[in-house]
Amino acid sequence: MKNKNIKMILIFLIPVTILYTFFFIYPLGFVLATSMTKWNGISAMEFVKLDNYIKLLTDETFLLSIKNNVIWALSGGFIQIPLATLVALILARKPRGWKTLRTIYFLPNIISAVAIAMMWKAIYNPMYGFLNAFLGLFGSEGHNWLGEINTALPAIIAQAVLYIGYFMIIILAATTTIPKSYYEAAEIDGCSTLQQEWYITLPMIRGILITTMTLAMAYGMRHFEATFLMTNGGPAHSTSVMGLILYHKMDAFRLGEANATGTILIFLGTVVIVFIRKLLTRSDAGSDSVQ
């Protein structure tokens, strides 16, 4: 079918083509292509084959950063999402004030990462912070939460994982698509609330749970801001992540290495999205056939 408006359609697509090409397609190609060069942004690029990748993958700090990103991803997928699901299931039964609660739970998500990071830095402050003052009430000794190797990574992850609002709202929305009659039937058959959630709600929102887990893990792989602002990777690189390595390489004008880091970041992010989705969807199909 030929559309008689095709000329106008193409004209309407010009702006998006320009912006999308410059800020998505070209950068993607650019990052991949220059990841095999030695380049400082001023002198000519020099093709170095896989040297940048070899350098990165034999660098202990980089490997530690990948590990930290994986910890972020797992915390997102297996702590944040279950918590968000728990709260969504509770709110789905519309307890008193559920709409207000939903609005408040989401509130931190609209505040900037900078403000949130500075706020938590204040809370974790060893001298003036809330957390040590609170623990002091129980006679517990304080910590320099962001300054000690054992506590720094958990401290940054904890503040991020506890903000469940974003995923909770998506999961809550999915529960509204489940027909009420399912619960009525289950009620008549004598199913308890917990049984209803386990046998009706969770299987019915399986799709969105897989999507949100995938998203949370993908966000974990690209995590950068809070760490940059709260510890800048320290102490002793213990909180470093790939995005931070990229930033520091760029800051030092090692642009080829920065883009090799970017390529690995994009690659691992895509692996998480595609692979985790496949894995979860397949185990779903398995459980279907068992039933």
């Binding site: 912006l19 800020f23 307890p95 509130l107 931190p108 403000a115 706020m119 809330f130 602002l229």
Partner: protein, 274 residues
Amino acid sequence: MKTLLNIFKWIILVFFLFVALYPLIWLLLASFKSSNLELQQNPFGFPDQWMFINYYNAMVKAKLPSLFFNSIIVALFAVTVNLIVASMTSFVISRENFKGKNIVFTIIIAGILLPIIAFMVPYFSIIQKFKIYDSLLALIVVYSAINIPISVFLLTSFMESIPVELEEAATIDGANFVQRFTKVIIPLSQTGLATAGTFCFIYAWNEFIMALLLTSSESSRTLQLGIRFFTSQFVTDYTAMYAAIVITIIPSIIIYFLFHNRIISGLTAGAVKG
């Protein structure tokens, strides 16, 4: 069993209420306290004296008014450019049929999944090539572009729900292609535009990394960059620093309480579609 479950339910709900709100309240109270000493001696309670002077200090020392102005300009223009481009795109995708339509849509939406931080180097070099490094224009262009995928996603699904009959009636009355867009679809898409615009505004208002990367001078500094810089200025005076952070949070909270229904329905639209 039932009461036990009920108690458990409220413990969970109150715990997350606490997590979401208490840090903000604590920060707000701390921002009014008189000194670091009071923070230490009176960590939880109300300030002995409400020190509004902290806010004055934050405003003056951190030059908040000019940072505020820059952030507003960047956010408003980014939203405008983003909505114009995204609505034109969504209009042809949702209301017209042409070859390759689905491919165009899929490619644009795939942009949501790309980690933008991996693009630090290319964005920097593009902005330098355009000779707009260290200007508000650089941030406007980048922010409006980064939000194209999400806006097209939201607007396309919104425009698809507008009945065809309205457009047909307009065509019979002699409306041409552009008029169908400006006189029929745009006025009917106000809710969708508000949702996409709110997402874009919050993004542009809160964005930090690209602002750090693409600007250097004080004249093009945004509020988020400002907070980072004045944390180093205020090492001896935490209370004024907290006041400055509170000031930057306030606009986000106002926008949220005005538009939270749109934000939530925007997220919900994505969830129901899968």
